[in-house]
């Protein structure tokens, strides 16, 4: 018998080679189409999401499942609303923090009593009941440092970062309370690890000094308080210059951007952080099955040797409009090229 998905992921996270490269193709809206539902309907009921995740497992063999629906959910938790679309993920609607001074009176929402969040917890618990310990379920939080982009709008948030550091610190503390409670609740419901979505900490978005002053110290304290395995996701932003700093936060893994050389990133992360990535989610819509295979092969050659690698897209979400055929080609390519030992890979210098 081969390994279970959980064993495979455990092994790669110990920087050892499992039976094959573990992968996750987070086509998290795709089941709506198969189930004859709109994206809005699909996310409206925990049982749909559970069924959808089981379908994804069956169809694509994902080594990791996830009940988190979309980032705009967080704004619903804070009293705002989500705006739905037919062909793609919902967006957060109008900001809930209208003026910087609103931060002075801001209180974090209670996680357990929040209807939006409760649905995710329910879905996680019933998915866990269905898959047991064999397939890990990822929980997700948008970090305290990235959440304000939705809470107040990006422009206002950048102005806050540069002009109102005291309010920024206060907001990070308030968001931190919420994020820790939200992550812990997902773990309690059955999530085995937390994806900490923090693109604001990518140098693509904010300069290294600011990330080192606010973003990563926040991550470090939140990760310590969550007390489970956490992977930092930069949502397709770059991260190479921060590898050592990210490793120091206590995170066990980080995302790999499609805009960076995966081989170089891997060299920097070896033995320290498991890399997750780096297929370009936005390009997939145009890929032929042959291109999909070539991309999978490239990523495995660059980051597979030695373990410490989970093949996935660069962003943590595959666009709704990517065809199943392309996803199937990726699955077949991992079967073909991802079996360890990766004898076909010519390691530099070997």
């Amino acid at each position: 018998m081969g390994m279970t998905s959980s064993q495979r992921l455990q092994e790669t996270m110990q920087h050892r080679e499992p039976d094959r490269v573990p992968y996750s193709l987070p086509a998290n809206m795709h089941p709506a189409r198969d189930m004859g539902l709109t994206i809005k309907e699909y996310f409206s009921r925990p049982e749909y999401v559970v069924e959808g995740q089981l379908r994804l497992r069956k169809k694509f063999g994902n080594d990791m499942l996830c009940c988190y629906p979309f980032a705009g959910l967080e704004i619903m938790a804070w009293g705002g609303e989500a705006v739905y679309f037919d062909q793609g993920p919902p967006n957060a609607g109008a900001p809930v923090i209208k003026r910087p001074e609103d931060i002075l009176a801001l209180e974090p929402p209670s996680v357990e009593e929040n209807p939006a969040l409760r649905g995710v917890l329910e879905a996680t618990a019933s998915l866990k009941a269905a898959v047991g310990d064999d397939i890990p379920i990822a929980g997700v939080i948008v970090s305290p440092f990235s959440l304000p982009i939705m809470q107040m709008g990006f422009e206002a948030y950048l102005d806050l970062i540069y002009e109102r550091p005291e309010l920024l610190e206060r907001l990070l503390r308030i968001n931190g309370e919420y994020c820790v409670a939200w992550a812990k609740a997902q773990i309690k419901a059955g999530a085995s690890a937390i994806v900490y979505s923090d693109p604001a900490s990518s140098p693509t978005i904010l300069p290294r000094e600011i990330v080192l002053r606010h973003g990563l110290p926040t991550a470090r304290s939140i990760i310590a308080r969550i007390g489970g395995g956490v992977m930092i996701h930069l949502a397709s932003g770059r991260g190479k210059d921060l590898v050592d700093d990210i490793a120091e936060t206590g995170a066990v893994g980080m995302s790999a951007s499609a805009e960076e050389d995966l081989g170089q990133l891997k060299a920097a992360c070896r033995g320290k952080l498991t890399l997750v990535g780096n297929l370009n989610a936005l390009a997939m819509r145009r890929w032929t099955p042959q291109q999909a295979e070539a991309e999978v092969k490239r990523a495995i050659a660059q980051a597979g040797p030695g373990g410490g690698f989970v093949l996935s897209d660069n962003h943590g979400e595959i666009p709704f409009l990517v065809e199943d055929e392309v996803l199937m080609a990726m699955v077949e390519a991992v079967e073909r090229w991802g079996r360890y030992p990766l004898d076909w890979v010519v390691v530099d210098g070997a």
Binding site: V83, F85, D86, Q87, G88, P89, N91, A92, G93, A94, G153, F154, E155, L158, I161, Y162, P203, T204, I205, L206, P207, I210, S236, R238, A258, E259, E260, N280, L282, A283, R285, R286, P319, F320, L321
Partner: protein
């Protein structure tokens, strides 16, 4: 190194330091727009373009591009007297965010164009394709700049292009935003006239369109 190149480099450095007074002092030494000797336009636009390219190549971050645009926009507006139109009425520019509720891309493009002396009609965010077509036709803009963050929204630019074509309008649609940057062919697929991969590129695009179109 030419005088112009030195001033541009100093301006880039001051912008990345967020040194507004330093930027103001550098720009005070220049004349507003065309004529003899280095003008505002000769250094502000190249400085923003350089910062934009540095962002694309991973050397500076988005917030620095945003702040640089903001500082330049303010500095230039302070220097140009309000009663003296900077440029002629053409090209007439409109800008909007299609479908999405995230306006930072639009804000940054506006800063870059305003720092280069252009005025824009702002059509807001979360706009439907048909709404945009109607507004652009009503105002008879020459160029409609569209910013998108989501792939699904970016794909709907084709409906704007089709709507304008159906009305027989020559309005040039120019697009930008994350999905266009991360998927290089997308702008062609949706029928846009041009794409900008950073906000400062909008200036060069509008200029090159102006050379080819009978607006002036």
């Amino acid at each position: 190194m030419s005088n112009l190149e030195t001033i541009t480099r100093q301006l880039v450095e001051a912008l990345l330091r967020l040194d507004s007074p330093g930027v103001g002092a550098l720009l005070d030494g220049l004349r507003p727009l065309a004529g003899g000797g280095p003008s505002l336009d000769d250094v502000v636009v190249p400085a923003l373009e350089r910062i934009g390219r540095d962002w694309e190549e991973g050397r500076v971050s988005l917030s620095q591009v945003y702040m640089a645009g903001r500082i330049c926009e303010r500095a230039v507006e302070r220097l140009l007297s309000p009663d003296r139109p900077v440029r002629g009425d053409r090209p007439k520019l409109g800008i909007a965010v299609l479908e999405d509720h995230h306006a930072l891309g639009k804000r940054m493009v506006k800063s870059a164009l305003r720092a280069a002396g252009y005025q824009l009609q702002d059509y807001g965010h979360g706009r439907r394709p048909q709404e945009l077509v109607e507004m652009a036709l009503r105002d008879q803009v020459d160029v409609l700049l569209i910013s998108c963050l989501m792939l699904a929204s970016a794909l709907r630019v084709s409906e704007v292009v089709a709507g304008l074509q159906k009305a027989g309008s020559p309005i040039a649609v120019v697009v930008g935003g994350a999905p266009f940057r991360l998927e290089a062919q997308l702008w062609k697929e949706v029928g846009a006239r041009a794409v900008g991969r950073n906000s400062a590129e909008a200036v060069a695009i509008v200029r090159s369109l102006a050379e080819r179109e009978p607006w002036a």
